[in-house]
Symmetry: C2
Subunit: 237 residues, 2 copies
DNA sequence: CGACTGCTTGAGTCTGCTCAATAAAGGTGG
DNA sequence: CCACCTTTATTGAGCAGACTCAAGCAGTCG
């Protein structure tokens, strides 16, 4: 089977619960199409617009003066980029693959969506998920090995865009390059390649040839390699 | 001079702008006193309360099954711990030093502080600052060296609790131990000690003997060592 | 005054990075 | 349609920053 075909290239209508209530945004905003590598926002820009991903994948990132780059998050169709920003964007954003977004001026939402409680709810949810994701990644980047980070990343992607395959495998499309995975996980690209190869050698995953995605063959092995966090000392209720 | 005396041990009334409007919380909540190392919340707890720090310092953290720990953030008097959580806390929180908090049940705020726009504003601000801080730390942890992380950390602390000294130095109290700094910066405690010693050797900082804080002697040197992020390719407007 | 906790310092190791060369895939234009 | 060129991934060798293990020291608290 072709993993690339499993990409969710369009917005799954109302799939992401917390974003409900944003459906009418398309009516207000402007559609914009982006090629791979094309910038959507620059760090420091006035944050007068936010962007709903309609198709493709967007990455937000921060960079140091000497060119090192850290990808903060990946955004898929249905996600909101820059919704959580303050006055100015604290990060840049660019397209990973061929993407479309709907850009909505903040002003059009009233000061803070005062009228629309569902929208306010949605904003809070988006913010909360973004906080929790960023904090989780602090653990990844601060305390996990390359192998663990990769495993965590694959599980995250599996949870977002994974599709159960007919042969029992979990097919996970990966629209980003290995360089971008490296910039997300705080690793060198060579380390990503090597670690992926190592996971593949054990049979836990299978890499789809032109690095279009992976198939998770042994989910337990990946979960074990991810070195899960320890939520409850006594086990879950 | 005694750096420890510069600790902001009580809430600076209305010092933190975005938290304005929380003043009356103390009337609703319950005061709780914590000893060093005492837990305030556990990862996985139902998030039915949030906590305003009145005195001391609180750290939030995540841990792996094998005991590695990543400190997510430090909270000083005036800050709100757990305000941004969802249903359950995704992290634990414990006191760094002798601390007091005011614990406020979420239920007492209405569903989301619907009545009080200032409070809603405050919640959004708190969330936004937490997002931006967590994302900034992704850059630190993913792409910066031990030396850079330490320098960034010192600048962050200086911005929060630093006091200009009479001799031109910037006095920065550090209530946390080096182990806790290490857990915050994703380093080993030995590395923190060594790197701090190295910065002191160059004259950029001076460590106050019982590790109660540092005095920044050469701010430019620390800023240079921090390897600032690159916001604008062309310089700021 | 003694035990403990936290910091310092040293020696050796290792994970992951750098540099480099090769290979494969995809896009472009003739 | 094919040849070329660019981009991305793979693989190897060597290096180094940060970790681990370990011993010693100082300040604190009981």
């Amino acid at each position: 089977m072709n993993v690339a075909a499993a990409h969710p290239t369009t917005v799954p209508a109302a799939r992401r619960g917390p974003n409900a209530g944003f459906g009418r945004l398309e009516a207000i905003g402007v559609i914009r199409h982006l090629s791979p590598r094309e910038s959507l926002v620059f760090e420091g820009d006035a944050a007068d617009c936010f962007h709903r991903v309609l198709r493709g994948t967007i990455a937000t990132y921060k960079a140091t003066a000497d060119g090192r780059r850290q990808i903060i998050a990946f955004f898929y169709p249905g996600d909101l980029v820059g919704f959580t920003a303050g006055e100015r964007f604290a990060y840049g954003a660019e397209a990973i693959d061929r993407s479309s977004v709907c850009s909505v001026p903040r002003a059009k939402l009233g000061v803070l969506g005062d009228e629309e409680p569902a929208l306010r709810e949605g904003l809070l949810s988006a913010l909360r998920r973004e906080v929790e994701a960023a904090q989780e990644r602090q653990l990844w980047l601060g305390r996990k090995t390359a192998r663990e980070r990769l495993a965590c990343f694959l599980l995250e992607c599996a949870g977002r865009t994974g599709q159960a395959g007919p042969d029992g495998g979990l097919s996970v499309p990966l629209p980003m390059s290995q360089l971008e995975v490296a910039d997300y996980l705080g690793l060198a690209p060579e380390t990503v390649s090597r670690t992926l190869a190592q996971l593949a050698r054990t049979g836990a995953i299978e890499v789809v040839p032109p690095f279009a995605g992976v198939v998770v063959r042994d989910r337990h092995a990946i979960e074990a390699a991810a070195g899960e966090s320890a939520p409850l000392p006594g086990g879950s209720a």
